[in-house]
Symmetry: C3
Subunit: 249 residues, 3 copies
């Protein structure tokens, strides 16, 4: 009812809510579900099996429903369910890519060009920054903020109320490809509730960063960080003198 | 006059110059202004209130005129004017995203996927590299080069003739989200005229890098850098032995 | 034969193989060559002079055939041949940008938003991660894996079986723009066969990393690394105690 659907859009789905706006050249595949008050900008693709909640805005050229697709060189098997759930009130930025088998809570922002791989889950009220890449099977809690360009490795867990600055790199393979893929060997860091990570920090595989710990800008974290502690440097060491962004000023 | 406008383009604007080429599926909204000798590639969107100078080329899927759009989780208020000015002779790369309330001088290159947020200004003869993200209210002078993947934080100032290598990270929030947004607390670094910044360097909030200073590759800059000095290391310290890219060879 | 070409696609080429699927709003220019069993998703552009092998899949909004395009501020001359060859079995991700004068072997994955500049060559069975940017005239061997966000500088050589983690930065200009472009002065690192490079490492211009060497996460490599050695730290030094990802645990 009262929806505005441009004649240049391609609408195969019959499950489109009320007060929806769909702009030119958007493509909504058969079986996709679109809630009420949704705005879909031009050149967006929403594939079959995708469910979009109410009050969601999807900016131009976002691609929701990418199948994982390997080549001969891939080592990890590609298992996925051809479903995506995006909760109420989310905003999906231009050029964002969301793979199949992803679940996103409500009121979360996926910024320009962010790419979220299969089997990942992102909670509610999160901000995933521009060009952040979330790798496969990574679980992110609620109220998490990840700034631009950060790379979240596969098989990684992030709690609630975590703040990750821009340009942060995580890793999940200590052997750097030398031993192929097994779920036991390829494990990213665990980031517990309330952790804050400074700009450009690097966190190595299997490291556990415990609750409310703080990682200084540019630190290389090679071993576990106890709850509430601040670490800095290369390799990162525990410091008691946190003042600014994890670095003494 | 003599313009070539593809029949698949959607042209709502009536202010289009001479000798313009607009390709398939480009969208030019009502009230947008397009100068002479402009080339617009397919899938480009130019929104209302955008003014494009003469001799500009806009590559495929660039999106010029994104409104800032928050979710419940955003802390900073979204104030902006729905205008963009792009000067003569600029080139806008594929997938670039330019938010409303941005002004770009003449003969500046915005490369593939660069994302420029609201209230930012970029001068003339600049090169903004691929996937560079410029955050809100950041002011960049003339003849500045920023290489690929660099992240320029919000509320940051950059002078003229600055060279910023690739993978550089800047920060503007010493408390990493712990205290919400105020314009006084959230302040990026100031980079003065002629500064050169090496690959992968990290520069912390409120730091002032004075004229012609040089920051070594990978340095973490936690305090002000005096004019003409070279700093390196973590945390960055003044060195007299600059030889190559800010690192002694 | 048996091809499925959507009526909304724009097909100027007459050299299209068998069992091809071309989706809505894809654009295939005159003179492009498309092999058998190729899938082209919506909003893809394939320009004149591009040759796509058999069994290739091209995801939405990929742009294959970008001409290099400078502005007044560019220092390097733009020489290129308006050709691209993509071998059999390759996968090109959404929003990937491939410039003219690029050759890609077979069964290579170019991931989401990767951008490959002119005069570069990428071998077979490689994985080029999301938002990796490959600069001009960079030569990459076979069986190379480059993870997300890594920046490969111009005029750089990479051997076979190299593993480069995410967030790695390379540089090719010791003077950071101070002396303009000459092919003798602007030279990236050389990475020999079997080298492994940890997350977030930085490698400076003209450095040679010899066969099977290992670079620790976050290292800043300022001088040559002998074959088989491990280096870590800032500046990187030779260590005999490699355990995990190049960092002692």
């Amino acid at each position: 009812m009262n929806s505005i659907i441009d004649t240049h859009a391609i609408i195969e789905s019959v499950q489109i809510g009320d007060n929806v706006i769909i702009r030119e050249y958007a493509i909504i595949r058969r079986g996709a579900i679109i809630g009420d008050n949704v705005i879909i900008h031009p050149f967006v693709i929403i594939e079959e099996g995708v469910s979009i909640g109410n009050d969601v805005e999807v900016f131009p050229s976002a691609y929701i429903g990418k199948p994982p697709r390997g080549v001969g060189a891939m080592t990890r098997p590609m298992n996925f369910t051809a479903r995506i759930d995006i909760g109420n009130g989310c905003v999906i930025g231009p050029n964002a890519v969301i793979y199949y088998d992803v679940k996103i809570g409500s009121h979360t922002l996926i910024s320009d060009g962010a790419s979220i791989r299969e089997q990942s889950k992102i909670g509610s009220r999160c901000i995933i920054g521009r060009y952040v890449t979330v790798n496969y099977a990574t679980i992110i809690g609620n109220d998490v903020k990840v700034q631009d360009h950060t790379w979240l490795a596969g098989n990684m867990e992030i709690g609630d109320r975590v703040f990750i600055s821009g340009g942060v790199t995580t890793a999940n393979d200590n052997l750097m490809g030398a031993a192929g893929y097994t779920p036991e060997n390829i494990v990213g860091p665990t980031i517990e509730n309330g952790v804050r990570i400074g700009a450009g920090a690097i966190i190595l595989p299997k490291v556990k960063v415990e609750e409310n710990a703080l990682i200084g800008a540019g630190a290389v974290v090679t071993k576990d960080v106890p709850a509430g502690q601040t670490v800095k440097g290369i390799p990162a060491k525990i410091k008691g003198d946190y003042e600014t962004n994890g670095n003494k000023k």
